[in-house]
Subunit: 474 residues, 2 copies
């Protein structure tokens, strides 16, 4: 390099950088202009009392942007990300004009906080809100955890999990699901199913992407996607269609920026189990479109007719999440796991390493033991079946309600016959007047007429709670 | 509304939406043009062998964008976010031209994975890489955890933590730090200090923001910021300046998009303790500039001269993170806590609720008991002091090394006298030839000449390890 070369490079750089700065400012100007236009749209909508969200317009814009990216040779992921930022900002601008307010959703977690607060005051409640079985964890698990403590299994483990648990999970998948191909680097031990679900979503979707979810469902999927900045595209199922999701509608929901489909059967909150044929069809749609199937199989041991699992016939891209919380009644141990292709797993593991380091060693030892506790899982499952039968019958006696009898999971999700029923108001009133907690349907999607009754209580408590629900509605 | 009003609104909406779409496409065009310019910059840099990163240029651009936002009445947070997306994309474009490769950093976690892999093969290693005391957790904690298990403290708790632990933490802060004002809604029980740190960073900074960190430091701060899409602005401290950070340089590091300053004393990896005066000065700078002080005080009980804490004199905005891992030697329990203003705490709690639900109840009971285990903490601290003394003396005998004697924490961070020393290559060779693991300095910042020796081993093991380090360098 001669000194004049260096000088030339310096001056070229100078020019190019000025152009970059100008272009950047130009972009900001257009962003400001776009927000101005959004405000005007907000005014027009306000005049016409039109809603802010308009999926069709958003979809059309996404298509246009992706076409433009293609034309310009621009990375589509970048395009969708910038578009997501712009759309979010536009909605904010419209909202200030339209004056739309966002109602606080009463999710199961909000309900739990409210109830715990009241219980602190000494009042005894009938808690039908928490999605937690009342069964005791297997005795052998307590023994193993305690003995692991006293033998000082109290230090860091590798992030993925102790080899003993990874190996036990492999055997478990082989015996329980007849799936023999799981490798250790496909498994991760997580602090609960919730973290498995979050890291699955965060690995598959980025800001500006979208993921198909079937409603009603566990709010954690949407919460996770919101946190990531991705959009949940909901496929609505209804009481009238017996909570049956149609593969056609799942297919129609897929957008060009869709990365995954979340399935979770038996369903929280409806107890619905998807047909094997529909499940296979959705997997095929995912395969065709290059999407990941995230299958949350936490309630699989509470299934009262054959329940499909992705282990039956693996999708091309998949993440299975599960947990010891429900089948083993080990909610308070905070231990779950995920199973995914090695490369996907290693990306999920990075998130775990960054935030958590590892799950406590002595708890992982307990999880190993839990996998042997087949009898307890069967007993829990049988008991839950009895509760589903009894509670469904009791709910059927309440004139104001109707129920699709759950086929699995640990909940009932009745719907009020009154089309104007507001389950949030009802839940608050029920708590205050009768000391019974349930979770309003709006926590699981757009289901104001429904509410979730958790069956994680002894039958006497459940019956007492349902009786009070009946009184309240009578 | 008359039908012609509605018609007019519809047609206005149509026009405005077309303008929005056009503006959006115009933005994409400019983004593509900007990337094209970046590629050309990459070519010029490649010709002139210039580095891709240029902080001054980046800073100037940020200032210009913020001024432009102000002029346009555009939200500055939005401007910095879009700019961050553009800059990241530009660097990517430049990198493909310059062909720069990113070296994998050997962080303590990477080293741990490598070593564990080797140990699986049966080889016995001297592990001086893991930042984990070898002390046993307090016996009383084991007893309480075990008995909590058998009394079925095995269900969900509220996300923030059980009232008993929150109350015990309040008393602890009062007794240990003479800080009596902590309210329960300012405290959160977290799965380890790591999660407290992540949720602190994620609450304070968003994509496009920046946070000042003082290097060398624990890699989790940068990893967290990377994950969020925020930039870590590093204030470098050096061996020659005895790892002393200057408040002036901290002040100079602050950018218009800076949201927080991370402090952590005693320091991992240097064992440095900041002067009370410098600490107070940095807090004042933060207060002046409206920044949050995130103070990671996990090593506070391993301090061998008075160590400042934000509890001495609270900054206006603050988050304290800590953990039971080090002082109580409870790494494998994964339990820590944070203390922050109620509003900040409630934002952090949302992240915890979304990802984790809660820390296991029986572990929280153990943490309550740990707070009473004052004797064990003192004993651990005294032992660590002896190790620092002995190991510092032993390291001083190695001609090739120099060391600023640690004033606290549980590490030594020697520097090779050879300016061309590559501690990553050294660490790998030391592991392979001598079976000793240390953490290369590049894991903690730009410190290729340094490496971290963890003192979390009995003195004989430490001495044996240091002897082998000496042999390797001799």
């Amino acid at each position: 390099l001669t000194s004049s070369d260096v000088e030339q490079a310096g001056s070229d750089l100078q020019d190019l950088r000025e152009e970059v700065a100008d272009t950047t400012k130009e972009i900001m100007k257009l962003v400001a202009r776009r927000i101005e236009l959004s405000k005007r749209i907000g005014e027009v909508k306000s005049r016409g009392s039109l809603p802010i969200d308009n999926e069709k317009v958003e979809d059309a814009l996404l298509e246009e942007v992706l076409r433009e990216c293609e034309r310009l040779g621009l990375d589509q992921q970048l395009g969708t990300k910038i578009l997501a930022t712009l759309v979010r900002e536009s909605k904010k601008a419209q909202r200030t004009r339209v004056g739309g307010k966002q109602q606080q959703l009463i999710t199961p977690m909000v309900m739990m906080a409210k109830a715990t607060e009241i219980e602190k005051g000494g009042r005894k409640l009938i808690r039908l809100d928490v999605g937690e079985p009342d069964f005791r964890p297997p005795k052998a698990v307590l023994d193993v955890v305690s003995s692991a403590l006293y033998s000082y299994k109290t230090y860091y483990t590798v992030g993925r999990g102790i080899p003993e648990l990874l190996s036990a999970l492999r055997s478990y998948l082989a015996i329980r699901y007849n799936y023999r191909e799981a490798a250790e680097n496909q498994l991760i031990v997580t602090p609960g199913g919730r973290f498995a679900v979050y890291s699955a979503l965060a690995t598959v979707a980025s800001e500006g992407d979208s993921v198909v979810v079937i409603e009603p469902n566990w709010p954690a999927y949407k919460e996770g996607l919101d946190y990531i900045g991705a959009r949940a595209i909901t496929v609505r199922t209804t009481f009238d269609e017996r909570w049956e999701p149609s593969p056609e509608r799942v297919k129609a929901a897929i957008r060009p920026n869709t990365k995954a489909i979340v399935l979770s059967y038996p369903s929280n909150p409806t107890g619905k189990i998807m047909d094997k044929a529909s499940f296979a069809e959705i997997v095929e749609i995912a395969d065709d479109r290059g999407l990941t199937v995230i299958s949350d199989e936490i309630y699989n041991d509470y299934a009262y007719r054959p329940c499909p699992t992705i282990l039956d016939d693996l999708p091309k891209k998949y993440i299975l999440t599960s947990s010891f919380s429900k089948a083993w009644s080990m909610t308070g141990f905070r231990v779950g796991y995920s199973f995914a292709p090695a490369e996907t797993s290693s990306r999920m593991l990075k998130i775990l390493g960054l935030m958590i380091t590892c799950v406590p060693d002595f708890i992982q030892r307990g999880a190993v033991k839990a996998l042997e506790a087949v009898d307890e899982v069967s007993r829990n499952s049988r008991t839950m079946k009895e509760r589903i039968d009894a509670t469904s019958a009791e709910l059927a006696e309440i004139d104001a309600l109707e129920l699709i009898k759950p086929e699995g999971a640990i909940y009932a999700f009745p719907q009020a016959k009154d089309p104007g029923f507001d389950s949030s108001a009802f839940a608050i009133e029920l708590l205050e007047k009768k000391g019974v907690t349930v979770s309003p349907g709006t926590g699981f999607g757009d289901y104001p007429r429904c509410f979730r009754v958790s069956l994680g209580q002894p039958q006497e408590t459940l019956s007492a709670g349902v009786k009070k629900i009946g009184e309240m509605l009578g």
